[in-house]
């Protein structure tokens, strides 16, 4: 029971991370494309400035929850994805430094260098995160101890790369709808247009990924036939996908943003629903079964205590996150946010 709850908590935290850091990664993906003037770029960075750091904490906390609840999964996955994760780390370092240092020096060259760093690292991170989800869905070669030697090339298989592309396009759409919500004028117009264009791309890629996931991981649908109510999760994604152009055309930016977020929840939620109770499936032909919520779990007491801590902690966190996001509501202009005194 507590193992299942932890599965839900972990899936929930990673999905929350994808939705929250997703929009600021998406803003990064679009940064060079739709924020064209220096004012636009200051506005775009200002729109995520106060919140990107807090969004990234969801990743750190998800990592922590993986250690405490499923240490075996953490050990196997992190050492197996070694080089890919190191790349993720370097990109996170560069991106974070880019956002914080960009506005510290009033010099065009300095800012342009950080703009490029910010945007490129956002694109690559989005690809790597998508590819990681793809590899988890597809399964990895596990040995009998649950370890795997995931060569970097192996991780860049066609299915994972397809998921990587889907991730970039989806997050870009999510970022565009966020920018449309937070900005005005020409930037807002471009962001609205980008939302719809990227929505079409996301839909096409989603169909491709869904179709090929049946091929690479045939077990994927078993849960949906065993527990039919799980179909509600992909249906939520489908409804969100339909709602995006509906709200975008009526320029209801808030609802569009909620819908792009709900689409991400639907997609990742479906992946989690298909995965349960597995955490890291084995590639067909591996010498071992999957790592699941039982064989990679830590002690019962540890999981129970951490769950209580989590519920207490997250209740407090949600309290002030709502307050903080409320303070930053409304439109951002290039005057907002970071500025030299």
């Amino acid at each position: 029971m507590v193992n299942t709850l932890w599965f839900l908590v972990l899936a929930g935290m990673l999905t929350t991370y994808a939705v929250l850091d997703g929009f600021d990664l998406g803003v990064g993906v679009l940064h060079l494309l739709i924020a064209r003037t220096p004012e636009d770029r200051a506005t775009a960075i200002g729109a995520i400035g106060p919140v990107w750091n807090g969004n990234e904490v969801w990743l750190i906390a998800a990592g922590g929850s993986m250690v405490v609840a499923f240490p075996h999964l953490y050990a196997a996955a992190f050492s197996g994805f070694y080089l890919a994760l190191m790349l993720v780390l370097w990109l996170l370092v560069l991106r974070g430094i880019g956002i914080e240092f960009r506005h510290q020096v009033d010099n065009l060259l300095w800012r342009e260098a950080w703009d490029v760093t910010f945007s490129l690292s956002s694109v690559l991170l989005a690809v790597l995160f998508g590819a990681a989800v793809g590899n988890v869905l597809r399964g990895v070669p596990l040995d009998f101890e649950g370890n795997f030697q995931g060569s970097f090339v192996l991780l860049l298989n066609p299915f994972a790369l397809l998921c990587g592309v889907l991730s970039v396009v989806t997050l870009a759409m999510h970022g565009a709808s966020y920018l449309a919500l937070k900005t005005t004028g020409a930037l807002q117009t471009r962001a609205r247009r980008a939302t719809v264009v990227l929505w079409a791309g996301t839909l096409a890629l989603l169909v491709l990924v869904a179709a090929s996931s049946f091929v690479v991981q045939p077990q994927f649908t078993a849960n949906f036939s065993r527990w039919p109510f799980l179909v509600l999760v992909p249906l939520l994604g489908l409804a969100a996908a339909g709602a995006i152009p509906f709200f975008a055309r009526r320029e209801r930016d808030g609802m569009t943003f909620v819908s792009t977020g709900a689409l991400i929840v639907g997609v990742l939620g479906s992946a989690a629903a298909g995965l349960y109770p597995r955490l890291l499936p084995a590639l067909p032909g591996s010498s071992s079964a999957a790592l699941d919520i039982h064989n990679s779990a830590s002690g019962h007491y540890s999981m129970k205590v951490a769950l209580v801590m989590y519920l207490v902690g997250i209740a407090i966190v949600l309290g002030y996150l709502v307050k903080v996001y409320w303070v930053w509501r409304g439109k951002v202009t290039s005057e907002h946010g970071y500025r030299l005194p």
């Binding site: 922590g64 050492s79 996170l92 020096v105 002690g299 966190v317």
Partner: protein, 443 residues
């Protein structure tokens, strides 16, 4: 040692020492900024408000560096130390996880509010966000020290199927090792922040600009610096020493360069440990002092290194020299801060150019002292990764080769050199620009 183990240790050592250059400043600076902000509200004097804003800018870039260099630390437990995570994840995960949920969210959410929200929120909410940023930083330090303390002195666990499982969260959080180490770490951080603040103040007075702000920085820095450099020695340092003697006597023997077990053991002020001849060369000793410090009895028996098998002794030289560097610098800090405080009380500090020079040039040394302290703690724990339970050589990932780790270590070195230089450059510019008038997040 095999190649992969050496590579893993270098990588962890390098990344964590670089990382700790930043939280050591932010933990203390957060408290000083909250103090300035409190003075601002209590005395209704915007001088302090301005100073708080100025230091918040330094805090912000330092905090950003701490965050981006901290994420690799959490990842490395899994990437490079998979067998450690597998063995101990259920216990150390607990504190790492609590750090994320209880400290990081508070720190990062309220930092945005504090840095950019002064015009958007009531002044009491702005003050509250300064307090929350400081509390988050201090709390996050506690969870990290508690994690480390469990590796130094495991408590509240049982071994099931060859893996450590938590049996008591309370024991984990009230680990006596953590309770004595944590005040010492915080005290060291307060010394660092105070001396950085005093150094910037001294720089302003010496170069005759922003002199009013410079005097305020000196006042806060010197008073807080005196209090905490004393606290670093007593009680926090002394408590820590007793603790090490109680739980890790072999580490204490390495710190003191004590090879032979003896009653009425002396304390070495100076001397070079020679691991071939198993003796301390050219020492200056205070007779019987070590016995007194360790056990409160001048004749107590103190165990020497030679009573332990060779494969259970830490690298003696590194631990010995690091400990003596920390102790020596700590003594110098007390002297410098006492003298500065005396001059401040006499009202001549701001005119004593030589003292200002000393305060300005002293800035790097608290960093060195803090790093040395951690070397004593962590290298002194070797060859164990979890004291008495798991040896470091049994903690590495089996599926990551030394070559991969050397390669990524070079990557980290290049990246960290780059961002380290950028940090210094940006910090210098902020100091040059001085405390301005503008409230950030303009309208």
């Amino acid at each position: 040692m095999n190649d992969a183990l050496i590579a893993d240790r270098w990588q962890f050592g390098f990344t964590i020492m670089f990382h700790y250059l930043f939280p050591v400043l932010t933990m203390g600076l957060g408290v000083l900024i909250a103090t300035l902000k409190t003075l601002h509200l209590r005395r209704k004097d915007d001088r302090y408000g301005q100073l708080a804003r100025f230091w918040a800018r330094i805090f912000a870039i330092t905090f950003a560096m701490g965050v981006v260099t901290g994420i690799p630390m959490e990842f490395q437990f899994g990437t490079n130390w998979a067998r450690f995570s597998h063995f101990a994840g259920g216990v150390v995960g607990q504190t790492l996880f609590m750090e994320g949920v209880f400290a990081f969210f508070a720190e990062s959410s309220f930092l945005g509010l504090f840095l950019l929200g002064e015009k958007r929120v009531p002044s009491l909410v702005h003050w509250f966000s300064a307090v929350m940023v400081a509390a988050g930083a201090i709390l996050s330090g506690f969870f990290i020290v508690a994690t480390d303390a469990w590796m130094q002195h495991p408590v509240g666990y049982e071994i099931v199927d060859g893996r450590a499982q938590l049996t008591s969260l309370w024991a984990l959080l009230t680990n006596p090792y953590a309770l004595s180490q944590y005040p010492h770490v915080i005290s060291g951080s307060m010394v660092t922040a105070s001396m950085v603040m005093a150094a910037v103040g001294a720089y302003y007075l010496l170069s005759r600009k922003y002199e009013e702000a410079g005097r305020d920085c000196l006042r806060v820095g010197v008073i807080s610096g005196l209090v905490f450099s004393l606290a670093s020695l007593f009680p926090t340092g002394a408590m820590n020493g007793e603790n090490v003697t109680r739980y890790q006597p072999v580490k204490m023997a390495a710190m003191e360069g004590l090879f032979r077990t003896q009653e009425g053991a002396p304390m070495a002020i100076i001397g070079m440990p020679d691991t071939e001849r198993r003796d301390l060369m050219d020492p200056i000793l205070v007779p019987r002092m070590l016995s007194y410090l360790a056990y409160g009895d001048f004749r107590a028996r103190v165990v020497g290194l030679d009573d332990y098998p060779r494969d259970q002794q830490p690298p003696v030289e590194l631990v010995y020299y690091s400990y003596h560097i920390m102790l020596g610098l700590g003594t110098i800090f007390i002297a410098v801060m006492s003298l500065s405080a005396f001059l401040l009380w006499r009202g001549t500090l701001f005119r004593s150019r030589w003292m200002l020079w000393v305060l300005m040039l002293a800035m790097p040394f608290p960093y060195i002292a803090n790093q040395a302290g951690w070397i004593v703690a962590e290298v002194g724990r070797q060859p164990w990764v979890v004291w008495g339970l798991q040896r470091t050589e049994d903690a590495t990932s089996t599926n990551v080769t030394g070559g991969m780790t050397w390669f990524t270590l070079l990557g980290f070195m290049g990246l960290y050199a780059l961002i380290g230089l950028l940090y210094l450059f940006v910090a210098a510019r902020i100091v040059e620009a001085g405390p301005g008038d503008a409230v950030r997040n303009g309208s």
